[in-house]
Amino acid sequence: MEERTNNPAARLYRSMYLIRRVEEEIIRLYPTDKIKSPVHLSIGQEAVSAAVCDHLEKCDVVFGTYRGHALYLAKGGDVPRMMAELYGKVDGCARGKAGSMHLVDPEVNMMGTSAVVATGISNAVGAALALKMQKSKAIVVCFFGEGATDEGAWHESMNFASLRKLPILFVCENNFYAIYSHVKDRMAGPGLGARSRAYGIEAELIEDHVPMTLHERAGAAVAAVRRGEGPRLIECMTYRWRDHVGPTEDRVHRYRPDSELDAKIAGDSLRIVGDLLPGDLRKSIEVAEEKRVADAIAFAEASTFPEDKEIYDHVFAS
């Protein structure tokens, strides 16, 4: 990727555009029932994964959640294998056993995602412990929703990461909701920053208005962790445009005002980043990424379902 060294906005746009377009295709395909598993879309939240991962090396390790398409793609996961996985095909990144909720790509150290909220957090801390024991230069980045911070596992994980000064960046994607439940109804007190600092972990709240600012702050946080300064947390304010699960825009459930959603859509971060680019660069990125998406879908369509006997494979590693 030639933009890697010279134009962060271009890199960000490429990554975010890919995520957006992959998910728009999922929305288009979903009614065909070719994707027979729940999908938790990241549309609206692309900037977080894209901005953070832009600062990561291949050897850096990321953990995410069932809302994991964006992270998988931003970390450089294989697009055709992701689509094949959603189709439940044998060429999927987990041979059809995982579906949308458990994407994995060990090639780029995208660890598998979990559908049980907050369970990946302690795993990420454990990976950071291992990296420290192995004297690796890599770091771990752990993504989770604000809802996950309700869980005891978050508390225990933060405490241990801080005690051991582990090389881990916690990234909270605060999209205000856990399913249809607003964060203010679930989280008492002054906020995540105060909680994080109460474990001795520096924290920063990053509003979602300007993706390039997010990019810069995320870079600073990654750099601090990489310098061995111990864990950090960034709380990235963001918003999902679609329903908690599934492809719809979800205005029917009325847990959030239409005006709130409309304002977020109007402030589309993908457009903001795209507008920073010269038109021809932007166009060339779009053309290239459109082709990747189309190829990935074709790949998924062409792949076959696993044979019946595969059901018994991999219960144990051997």
Partner: protein
């Protein structure tokens, strides 16, 4: 309890299973101000698949409320409220999340009456929904009823019909002990006769869903329905199966089940869960202990394949027992392993086939 008439024949008012759960909850909340409901999303626009829809409006936000993602503490909070005379109903959208509550349920709820020699009681109801629906994969499809059956001090019910769902939940709410009620997501839209009045389904009473003489098939939760379908397939092969729904898993009505095996000489237990140390091993072991000495019989167990649940549809279809696989296993048990091959017909498990995503 042994007549299938009232639950299987379409006489009288019908409700879906989900509606029956809702009706039980609502009527008990109206009857007893100490009853309340808590769980992630119980007061949202989906209302836990409709089973708690609008209760917060009718009874106030204090009595049906959303909770933070904190399964362990929320269970403990339910227990603490129960100690003070309240009657909480805690709902888990997926039974998989109840793994986070094992410490409170096993170490606390199940033991308080005993540990304190009756000084305390814990009238807590835990509704745990088995999440099979639409490619849910390994972490959203599990069934842990055997975990609760293992523990003295817990009651476990797994009603199959709307009728029993209503009566089991009412009994659970009124019980002074912790009760885990297992609900299979595939049952929520199934319809059946449900009396309007209030009634309790007693613990420890199995239900003969459909009598027969050639083999006893015990089906747990959603599997009871699949077993009834298998029974119809088996008619083509001239096999007359008796289908039993245990309804209450702990205590278990082993008498009814063993009595049936005593007649048929054959037993197939079909569980909506894994076999090893599961409900099916307990049922088989107890039947054997009870009648094995004087009545030879043959037996088999079916359940989830011994793997995590795969997501892709063709493997998922293998993973769960189906009317066909149940009929097939039954046929071989009745006719013997060497019998001529037989191909069961097909039947739609409507609630499975018609289920659509996203979840």
């Amino acid at each position: 309890m042994s007549s299938p008439a009232d639950v299987l024949r379409p006489e009288g008012r019908t409700l879906t299973y989900g509606e029956a759960v809702f009706e039980a909850t609502r009527s008990e909340m109206a009857r007893d101000p100490n009853v309340f409901v808590m769980g992630q999303g119980v007061d949202d626009a989906r209302g836990m698949f409709g089973t708690t829809l609008g209760l917060h409006k009718e009874f106030g936000a204090e009595r049906s409320f959303d909770v933070p993602l904190a399964e362990d503490a929320m269970t403990g909070i339910g227990i603490g409220a129960a100690l003070m005379g309240m009657r909480p109903i805690q709902v888990h959208q997926r039974m998989d999340f109840a793994l986070l509550c094992m410490n409170q349920l096993v170490n606390m709820a199940a033991k308080m009456s005993y540990m304190f020699s009756g000084a305390h009681r814990v009238p807590l109801v835990v509704r745990a929904i088995i999440g099979r629906s639409w490619g849910q994969g390994a972490q959203h499809s599990q069934a842990f009823h055997s975990y609760f059956m293992h523990i003295p001090g817990l009651r476990v019910v797994a009603p199959t019909t709307p009728h029993d769902a209503k009566g089991c939940l009412i009994a659970a709410i009124r019980d002074d002990n912790p009760v885990v009620m297992i609900e299979h997501r595939m049952l929520h839209n199934v319809r059946g006769v449900v009396p309007e009045e209030s009634y309790e389904i007693p613990y420890g009473k199995a239900r003969i869903l459909s009598p027969g003489k050639d083999i006893t098939i015990v089906g747990i939760s959603h599997m009871a329905l699949e077993c009834v379908r298998a029974k119809h397939l088996l008619e083509a092969a001239g096999i007359d199966a008796e289908v039993i729904d245990p309804v209450s898993l702990s205590p278990l009505d082993i008498e009814t089940i063993a009595g049936s095996v005593e007649r048929t000489g054959r037993l197939l237990v079909v569980d909506t869960g894994w076999l090893s140390c599961g409900a099916s091993s307990e049922i088989l072991a107890e039947v054997f202990e009870r009648i094995g000495q004087h009545r030879p019989f043959v037996a088999r167990r079916l359940g989830y394949l011994p793997t995590p649940c795969p997501t892709t549809r063709n493997l998922e279809n293998l993973y769960y027992p189906s009317p066909q696989s149940i009929a097939d296993a039954t046929y071989r048990l009745v006719r013997g392993a060497d019998a001529a091959a037989w191909q069961p017909g097909t039947v739609d498990s409507r609630e499975v086939a018609e289920f659509r995503g996203p979840f």
